[in-house]
Symmetry: D2
Subunit: 293 residues, 4 copies
């Protein structure tokens, strides 16, 4: 029999992931902080829970995809939080991008009540969420990873087990670190090239033909070329993840000179009012600094 799945957090990613769970035949209950976002899924057949607690009570597994550590805090530990609905055998999948300390605290609380948790942050953007081609990087007991694989495979095409609880989150933060560098590097290059009179199409053609090509440059480069800053992944959220990475590194006493510099450029993009645009908008902050606009 199919596991009853709950889904908390119906944002850009979550709503699309939940839809795929429904399509693959999982009995689905959803909860969102602002209830109106539950509408489309309810129409498509999902139950709507009144609280995270109720969400937990009516599900075997709950997938969470919320904004940040404080949102996980509220979801799990608040008075009518998920924890109140946890019992033996319950499973929690943390797909939010948070710090390793947060996921370890959640796991400990669930285990005390006989449940368990798996970190499963993902990568793939909203298109990947819609098409069910996400990549999950998991942390937690290997057995729990194996047990929950069918749920993850309803939303993605691959799940790589990274190790114990916390290591999935660190892996995700590393991934967004790489994206931060690729984005900033491309934007710095495009601004200098543009000032030198190079056409953006030529620059992207060279990049794509090179040994350092990446589907990421193809995708993000095309959007920047069209000046399309429609949100796939917002500057605000990228800065949140950069900050979590810097905090994770700080706790290890590891300096991250490159990421620290990049974060301040993204911060400038926020200061200039682009926080809710796609991260491609970082190019606009660099253009401002260079006096181009």
């Amino acid at each position: 029999m199919q596991k009853r799945v709950g889904f908390a957090g119906l944002g850009l990613m979550g709503s699309r992931m939940a839809e795929n769970l429904l399509k693959k035949g999982f009995p689905l209950t959803v909860w969102n902080r602002t209830e109106e976002r539950c509408g489309p899924l309810a129409k498509a057949g999902a139950r709507v829970a009144k609280s995270p607690r109720e969400l937990g009570e009516s599900s075997d597994v709950v997938v969470a995809c919320v904004a940040d550590p404080p949102a996980v805090e509220r979801l799990v530990f608040a008075e009518d939080g998920l924890l109140g609905g946890v019992r033996a055998g319950f499973r929690y999948i943390e797909s939010s991008t948070v710090d390793p300390e947060t996921t370890r605290r959640v796991q400990a609380a669930l285990r005390e009540r006989g449940g368990d948790a798996l970190e499963a942050p993902m990568t793939g953007s909203k298109n990947g969420a819609a098409q069910g081609t996400l990549l999950f990087m998991t942390g937690g007991a290997r057995a729990v990873h194996d047990e929950l694989l069918p749920v993850l495979m309803a939303m993605g095409t691959k799940a790589i087990w990274c190790g114990e609880m916390g290591q999935g989150s660190v892996m995700k933060l590393i991934g967004n670190t790489l994206i931060s560098f690729m984005l900033e590097g491309m934007c710095e290059g495009l601004v200098v090239g543009g000032k030198a009179g190079l056409k953006i199409e030529t620059m992207l053609e060279v990049i794509m033909a090179s040994g350092f090509s990446s589907p990421y440059y193809t995708f993000k480069g095309a959007a920047i070329a069209k000046r399309d800053f429609d949100q796939h992944f917002s500057v605000d959220l990228l800065v949140k993840d950069q900050t979590l990475m810097l905090e994770t590194a700080a706790a290890q006493r590891t300096p991250l000179p490159g990421l620290a510099a990049i974060r301040e450029v993204c911060q400038s993009a926020r200061g200039l009012g682009f926080g809710q645009e796609d991260i491609g908008a970082v190019v606009k902050a660099l253009e401002r600094m260079a006096g181009l606009s």
Copy 2:
């Protein structure tokens, strides 16, 4: 009839490129600042010129692949320099990575004597040079690009015309900027991940399965995983190119906050004695800063 080709600068890249010219049947003359490096090519059938001037006199086209702007200066403008051998119809291919101002000066000098120049810096590492799969990004008159395509295609598989003289060099500097960011981003990630207990193989597996994957991570990541810092592209040369990019940007009044931070990490790698190792050695500088070694 085949053009007589000259080749100046038989380093890691140049020696392999010259070999391919010979294999493809071009009558070849070579010159190198230290003559002993000409030996293998001479054995394989190349003539050895005594000076850049003689190299120019005995060739229809000369390809240059030397270290930096001062080396181009010496090659072209010195007393027994190439310029002395230039006459109507002579062609010069600048494959060194230098700044746009240098290539524009060389072009002007050649045109005064009835010749012309094409910038054609390349990307592809020493393996690509050996296999003849380099990517050239050219700058100069489009007609000169078309005319010299057969020579370039003896050494590579693609040549993208970027625009007028100077723009090929800028494109190359942009390429090495992207490499700088990808390298630094990967290294910062690997150090944090390593301290958090993640296995390097797992981290690379995730990166390769993601939407920001790149052949570059596959290649450089594997080398770092094996702690193989055998030189493909040295830290010293990367820093040279980062400096040229920063100078190009400075002349435009364009700030490059990310690249500036990364250059100082690479500078630290040089300070620690890794300047002649492969750029993967940047990870060792970050490990030192983090107190890991």
Copy 3:
């Protein structure tokens, strides 16, 4: 009649400040997380409280000088925390360096119980604390500043009212930002000068004779010249304050590119094991990066 004063947090600064309160004739009660540090003051005539709550109950004004926001959290809001001892007319002086949000939360809680708070972070190092020459930068109601001036003047020579609650903390963070820049600038200069063969005494002589001289360079430069890294202000604490400043700026969407770069150098000093040394030890991190040791 003299106000009964309580003092929480007997570290490097706090113990010296408390001593001055005692010398100036204030009836004093002290509390410290680890009780043994209360010994010397008890001998000198101070009462020792068993808990922050008791400290509050037996004092009219409590001065707090603890490590960071979580320590303030514990001190004030824990079960046997200070808040339990607060009643109408009670005053709390926050001399810890924390973020403005923390001090505003504390003020609100105190006001609910009829008390009030004043931020009064200070500058002056442990020598200034011992000699009673600290400079306080206060935030809160102007009337509360005026009312508590006699207490502050027992520990320092000047108190500048910066505005409402939170602004004293921001001012303090700005002060430590300036120190961060002056320290890093001097250390970067000394390393380059040292490698160039300049004597450190000559460099300091020039700095002190210049228009950008500062007592700070005299004091910190002399310590570095003697390689004396005995703790006045630890690298760990400076990084804590830099992080609070970056968070304060992030909440405002203000980029701080210089401070972000400097923080990572200090982070490296921590990674290298100098976290508990004086901030002058940052020079050692830079020397490592430069391959000097």
Copy 4:
């Protein structure tokens, strides 16, 4: 008998320094790239030389105060350059801020002809130049320093001998490095403080009362408070000096992470069109990045 003094480079600093030489009774000849700037000094009694060569021929000592290394190149080594007028006993004082390599090349050329050089870059801003209160940091033979002291003391109040040729220039670059850090630190602080509602007068009052106070903050802070960006020391020139410092450090393989970050902020000030304003205008670049203007 008074030495005949020549002065090359009548900019913001040079014109004021030359005036003081005249006032102190030195027979003075002047030269400037654009002759019209010689007018006021000619009226006051100075001879005007037609070329640097003539300047050299008619002087015992020539003081140079030009913009950058290429300007020194032109002044000394051009066809009608100073070198042509050099003979035994001739002295050259390099007061321009340049890199140590440049001053060493000049010294070598002068010594070949029986003359000698002294580096004497200075600090003190245009006010100090006008009032004759400059501080010189010299490099070269100690005997030459002693011999030329009367000339320097006509323009300043102190000259500190830093060591051999090159070390005076390095010391000057270190000085401007400290200024860069103090400026950027103050500006980052003022922007955050301003957004937090602190008054700039309060912030400056605290800084001036603190142990990290400096006449520099008093002077530059007051100008920023009045939004007076009238040029004392232009952003363009500061960036030139930061670049020379970074090159000096690069030649040593010394990373300067803080200065590199600061230079890019100053670069942004140039990109935004503030290059010819006073360096206080860096605050405007930071305000832009923060979305304040």
